[in-house]
Symmetry: C2
Subunit: 252 residues, 2 copies
């Protein structure tokens, strides 16, 4: 069963269901949210921990970290394997929840609206014991060709790195989109650039392919850009801080 009905829970439940792994129940504190996902995977929706049926082989807890920490203080399972999917929370929070426990951490950005293909997504596995480890590797292998053992310490560093590489780079796209929209220019004009930048970083190394005014130490352009951002102090501050960071990397 799946505890949670957010972006990751949704993508995971659908992917497992598509591969023939039955999801018995979906829990969410908000019944309606549970119900939306439950319908998609032919499961029962519940919004009360007391309604969790015994006898599941696997319990996947996929919640925000706050909610996860609350949930683990309320749940105890006498059978089956319990995993959480959080990048930042230690495996140890599950110790009192179930004897056999682990972490099942797919490294990707998920949204309910778009079902990802898990095949190329790395899944980091951590486990309380060898038997659980073997099971989780098999389970992850059904979805992904890239299953890795990862300690809690490694996972939280991977998660931190992913916030920069994914969440913050997406914010950069967003700021770019705003600048274009304010000037009646279509975001499409940046599509090729965005994809090529990502492809290049992956093909070579981001440190090697850094370009732009700060990398060239082109102060004329930097000053002009800061002036253009006058009316948007937050983006201006971001521009200044990131340009300084690039400059320091290559000129000091």
């Amino acid at each position: 069963m799946v505890i949670g009905a957010g972006n990751l829970a949704t993508n995971l439940a659908i992917a497992f269901n598509e591969r023939g792994i039955n999801i018995s129940q979906v829990f969410s504190r908000t019944f309606e949210n549970a119900n939306v996902l439950a319908k998609k995977v032919g499961a029962e929706a519940i919004s009360n921990f007391d309604l969790i049926k015994k006898g599941n082989f696997l319990y996947i807890i996929s919640l925000t970290d706050d909610a996860l920490l609350q949930a683990v203080s309320q749940l105890i399972f006498n059978e089956g394997i319990v995993v959480h999917t959080s990048g930042s929370v230690s495996i140890n929070v599950l110790k009192r929840v179930a004897k056999n426990h682990g972490v099942f951490y797919p490294l990707q950005t998920f949204s309910k609206e778009y079902q990802v293909d898990f095949f190329n997504i790395p899944i980091g596995i951590e486990s309380s014991d060898n038997e659980t480890k073997e099971y989780l590797f098999q389970l992850a292998g059904i979805l992904s060709g890239d299953v890795i053992e990862m300690t809690s310490e490694q996972r939280r560093n991977v998660h931190l790195a992913a916030v920069f590489a994914c969440n913050f780079s997406n914010l950069m796209y967003s700021i770019a989109e705003n600048i274009l929209r304010k000037n009646n220019l279509p975001f499409e004009i940046l599509h090729t650039l965005i994809q090529e930048t990502a492809s290049k970083a992956v093909r070579q190394s981001p440190a090697e392919i850094q370009t732009g005014p700060a990398r060239r130490n082109d102060k004329v352009v930097i000053d002009k850009h800061l002036e253009m951002l006058q009316s948007d102090p937050e983006s201006k501050e971001i521009y200044r801080l990131l340009s300084d960071a690039i400059h320091r990397r290559y000129f000091s």
Copy 2:
């Protein structure tokens, strides 16, 4: 002929040469740099403006903005079309350089080591007159399927947006790479995530697909991440500023 031997000049000269457009000379203030590119495209290398041969149909000035502004104060052509390739510099700096002038602005990140395919790269064109415009559209059309007319004002906004979407997102990849390296984790683990984030932003819209701790208002994770960045004040400051920016976008 091409004035400049940097990343963009190199990619442009090679692409034109491959499509049968003859490059007669390559200028760079550093003869060795001019020579490296000149050899690749069968041109003469020069490092002195006085050696520029008359009678070219097209002069492409592809320099940093500082160098461009210096160059245009020293150059005068009585024939042919003169273009610069800068995102931020107005077309007007070319007024005294040649009667027929324009801007030829390919929107991409270039490096000498990797020759890009121009076909999907938008090329922004601005021109002093209709005849020049027609010529520049034809010329750009030889390289790219996406040629657009763009005023100086539009171009500098596109350029500013591109700094965020490309240069700054690449810095985010770089910081992620550093975090992983410090923890003996391979950057490859982020490859799929980086490419999927870029693809999603292009398929949908960056504002719609924003995820991560700040987007979820997951303060537990944010505080943990800031603590992990204790030893790297610059990345910590970037994390804080960007998380605040995301938070403000979705929770105020």
